[in-house]
Symmetry: C2
Subunit: 256 residues, 2 copies
């Protein structure tokens, strides 16, 4: 029964998609069957895995509202054990179109109930907002993984996100846990990076992954080739970082 992990942070550009694509790939390469759901209308996870968004007939919005089955939306990727539910721009309408729908926060939870059984992990890439799509992901998830860029503004947003997680726990999903906080784009030349690491570890202690993802140019080049980092440059510091994070996640989950 797959563990569902939402990758969320309303601060923009902190590495949600980069973490979703490369962590899901790292876990799939370790042999576990993985499902990755792109819930961001920007569809960066979808193009980051080389899938042409304009050619999609069915995608995550139709899956969310029950107009397409899992079989119709799922797409294989270049990684054998990794399956994707892709996103298209139509998802953008969800926030407004679903306002009147009863139980609109639980649509994804219901849609994913069946498919999750065939995967060890289900990752969900979220948009940079705390709107209905992210709420759906937090309601469906067992846990939330929070990428935090090693920058000042990214740290500021953490309190707001933790507050929202508490609200979702109270109203929609009492079992929601924090899988962990992962520091991203760490640049040893930038004094802010070490300051942010120090403050985040001081505040959140054990909940911060030991693995820190470095700023690494290969990670920003890989998406233009539609490849996860392991296929683009497996010897890069970025690939090392996400391989280490995948291992750490698997061992944390196995240790329960």
């Amino acid at each position: 029964m797959g563990r569902i992990i939402a990758i969320a942070n309303q601060k923009g550009g902190v590495g949600k998609t980069t973490t979703a694509v490369n962590l899901a790939t790292g876990v799939a390469l370790a042999g576990d069957p993985v499902l990755l759901v792109d819930l961001d209308p920007q569809g960066n996870t979808t193009s980051g895995l080389g899938i042409d968004r304009s050619s999609l007939e069915k995608h995550s919005y139709e899956f969310l509202i029950g107009r397409a089955s899992f079989a119709e939306v799922q797409k294989p990727t270049e990684i054998q054990e990794l399956t994707l539910v892709p996103a298209r721009i139509d998802l953008i309408g969800a926030e407004v179109e679903l306002v009147g729908v009863p139980d609109r926060e639980r649509l994804l939870k219901r849609a994913i109930e069946g498919p999750r059984r065939s995967y060890s992990f289900v990752f969900i890439d979220c948009p940079p907002s705390l709107g209905l799509l992210t709420i759906n992901a937090l309601t469906a998830a067992d846990a939330v993984l929070i990428p935090v860029q090693c920058e000042y503004y990214a740290m500021e947003g953490l309190t707001q996100l933790l507050h929202t997680i508490r609200l979702v726990k109270q109203s929609f999903n009492p079992d929601l846990e924090i899988e962990g906080i992962v520091l991203t784009m760490f640049d040893p030349r930038n004094r802010i990076s070490s300051q942010v690491e120090k403050e985040v570890r001081a505040h959140f202690g054990e909940r911060v992954f030991t693995t820190v993802i470095p700023r690494n140019v290969a990670l920003s080049e890989a998406p233009s080739f539609g490849k996860p980092i392991h296929l683009y440059d497996v010897r890069s510091k970025g690939a090392e970082g996400y391989t280490s994070l995948s291992r750490e996640l698997i061992s944390n989950v196995k240790a329960g």
Copy 2:
């Protein structure tokens, strides 16, 4: 009669807030009275100018819905000619709370009608989404300034944003223009940077500012001191970039 410029891009982390704070400061230092409206619930523009968000009684949400006057919300900054309408987290409720309100897209346009007369420029910092807050900014604005990070994913989102701008032009604001596209976080060591610059200039020609903002560590340090770049490190490449962008904007606007 101040020119209202929305700073928008639904892609996260592309430099909207950094551009809002430092462009508004650059223009104010050139002698023009400037108003800066923070319309992002994250409130990064507000903290980037050193204003303590928890101490605010009235802020941009109450100004938007007419529960607070401009006199009550406006805040002076360390820059003489720069005034701020600050944001607080309450803004986050706007997207849902305003769904039933008639003319909810024109709330900002109405609220800003009077105050704009005492400024040469009004800049609006938008959240990373194409929801109601960004639609309000695009409806109130004379023009939209689009920061584009020199990264692959940031380029992908441009088509979506231009599509939304066309929709706003058709339904709410026929006079809306594109002020320009500004390339941000340009890093000459990263081959993606020059690729993105080449493609964006090829596609958008004249509409791309000549000034390119370099990746510069001082720009990411300044917000932790609550200062615009000109007060934090006026000799930095970041300060040079935004001073040049301010001059270019002023001369474009004066040339009409």
